[in-house]
Symmetry: C2
Subunit: 317 residues, 2 copies
């Protein structure tokens, strides 16, 4: 039976797991990234974690069939990480070659948002043969997107597709750090929800949220549930934009399932029921919709599970 | 060498062509649809046209390797046309079975917008090995969309994807006939451009376009080129919405090429230069864009050529 290691490279920690062919996590652990050490050191850390996982599972190193690494930042030809804002010094880093050299095992490099989508598809919300067309929206600091078509990860002509957080949902709206105006992640990421509540508090709006510094996405959702009008308005705006985006994704991709992950998805039904309501109101009614909107099940583990799954898909026999 | 017949079923005419394996049109003709005769009669017409094309090309009927039919309306399982507003009586019509029975040849059924996209991909604007990821927007009465991924037509989980005319570009905008609000086809189809100019004339705005009844998309573009301020404003709004939509399609699909077809694309550079300007202004600048925005080359022939191409792709050896 095949064994695959998945590594999820983040700015603070690297999460990893060793999975079998069926997608069962045999071993799992997390270590600090120590990103201050630069790209070479971080690749050493990735290698260290992978070998620890094999030890944890008492698996001989040569029996690891592949290692998948989920990485932030855009990828260029030859598995080069072009840039990664949260990793100091990462510019044109040959992650694929660097990891192959260190591990001496077959390596697959994948974008972290794509890895999370593949994880939810393989063993999470979309697990099972019946779901072959799925989209994951990871609602965190930004919004990450991943698209599964016919059971395979979709990445576009230059591995730059599925940047769903930067789909424009409000053409005359808020400026985005990416240079565009009105990207969905300026309205419906966890950070956007917290920032909008802070802005409105700062502008003097009445709210039960009194301490600006402690306003988080979670606090805004909790205040909304408790009846705070300002918080409710922020939450409803975010969910309206997400619902509109879901209509567009259904018109474009005709998926079977759209999954919400990331920190904001911990709000659960308070998020899901509102997004569904907007979706139902905004979508067409010429045909019955056959898409399921639902919550992620793997959350923080989706990245390493999906990275292992991609190693299996790309490198497996 | 293989030979394929492509038929493009429209409300008024059926266009058809017989193509060889390489995509060269060997014979081509068009006949009235006679849609008043109902589905059975229209299928007879499709069969008649196909056999005429084989006669034109002096090809024995048995040597026709496949027949592709591009049809309006959504498709259900078993190549059933669920509905087609421009074809009286078309509700749950088993077009695949009906054409197989009549022609006794292998038949492929495809949505007409998808067929046009495949035609432009195969022998039109996207011809050649280098383009494998392409999108066609057909700017006519509505906006039809078709998406080619890795050289194959993308259709989604239930053949309902790539409905690009019904992507919402203005969430608080104009109501669309489909039941949604703010669909791109309410802003940037040929009909939308003509209708908006008519509305503004009716509201008393000054313009060189004096006779409301004669306002067409072409007339609006011509007036805009001649310096008419109202017409220019209508054209610029349409091109701005199209440019925004292109940004979103690039973020989502990362295509190599976006092609504009349909009646409005006859405006040529007056359309293309404006859409490009909006796209350049609205897209991000984190990475260099590698997409080409361009005009269709096949126009009205794209449908039958693409239908023949789909027959070749699905039925060819």
């Amino acid at each position: 039976m095949g064994h695959y290691i998945g590594l999820d490279l983040g700015g603070t920690n690297i999460k990893g797991g060793l999975l079998d062919e069926a997608g069962t996590t045999v071993a799992q652990r997390s270590i600090p990234t120590e990103s201050h050490g630069g790209p070479g050191h971080v690749m050493d850390r990735l290698n260290t974690l992978a070998r620890q996982l094999a030890d944890d599972a008492t698996l001989e190193w040569d029996r690891v069939d592949g290692i998948g690494v989920g990485t932030p930042g855009p990828l260029g030809d030859g598995d080069v990480v072009l840039s990664a804002p949260n990793l100091p010094g990462w510019k044109n880093v040959p992650l694929g070659a660097g990891m192959t050299e260190r591990t001496k095992r077959p390596v697959a490099i994948v974008n972290d948002a794509d890895a999370a989508a593949f994880g939810e598809f393989w063993t999470g919300a979309g697990a099972g043969e019946s779901i072959q067309h799925m989209i994951l929206l990871t609602l965190g600091t930004g919004i990450g997107g991943g698209v599964i078509i016919n059971g395979k990860l979709f990445s576009g002509a230059h591995r730059a597709g599925a940047e769903l957080g930067h789909v424009i949902v409000e053409p005359q709206g808020r400026p985005c750090g990416c240079g565009q105006v009105g990207c969905i992640e300026r309205y419906a990421s966890a950070s956007a929800v917290a920032n909008e509540a802070k802005r409105r508090l700062g502008a003097g709006e009445a709210s039960s949220l009194t301490s600006i510094d402690e306003v988080s996405c979670r606090a805004v959702f909790e205040a909304a549930e408790a009846g705070d009008a300002m918080a409710l308005s922020v939450v409803e705006e975010a969910c309206d934009k997400l619902g509109t985006t879901c209509v567009n994704l259904v018109r474009i991709f005709d998926p079977q399932m759209i999954v919400f992950g990331g920190g904001m998805a911990h709000a659960g039904d308070a998020l899901l029921s509102r997004v569904r309501a907007t979706f139902d109101r905004r979508t067409w009614h010429v045909r019955e919709e056959r898409v399921t909107l639902t919550l992620a099940t793997l959350f923080n583990d989706a990245g390493f599970i999906g990275a292992a799954g991609m190693a299996r898909a790309e490198l497996g026999a």
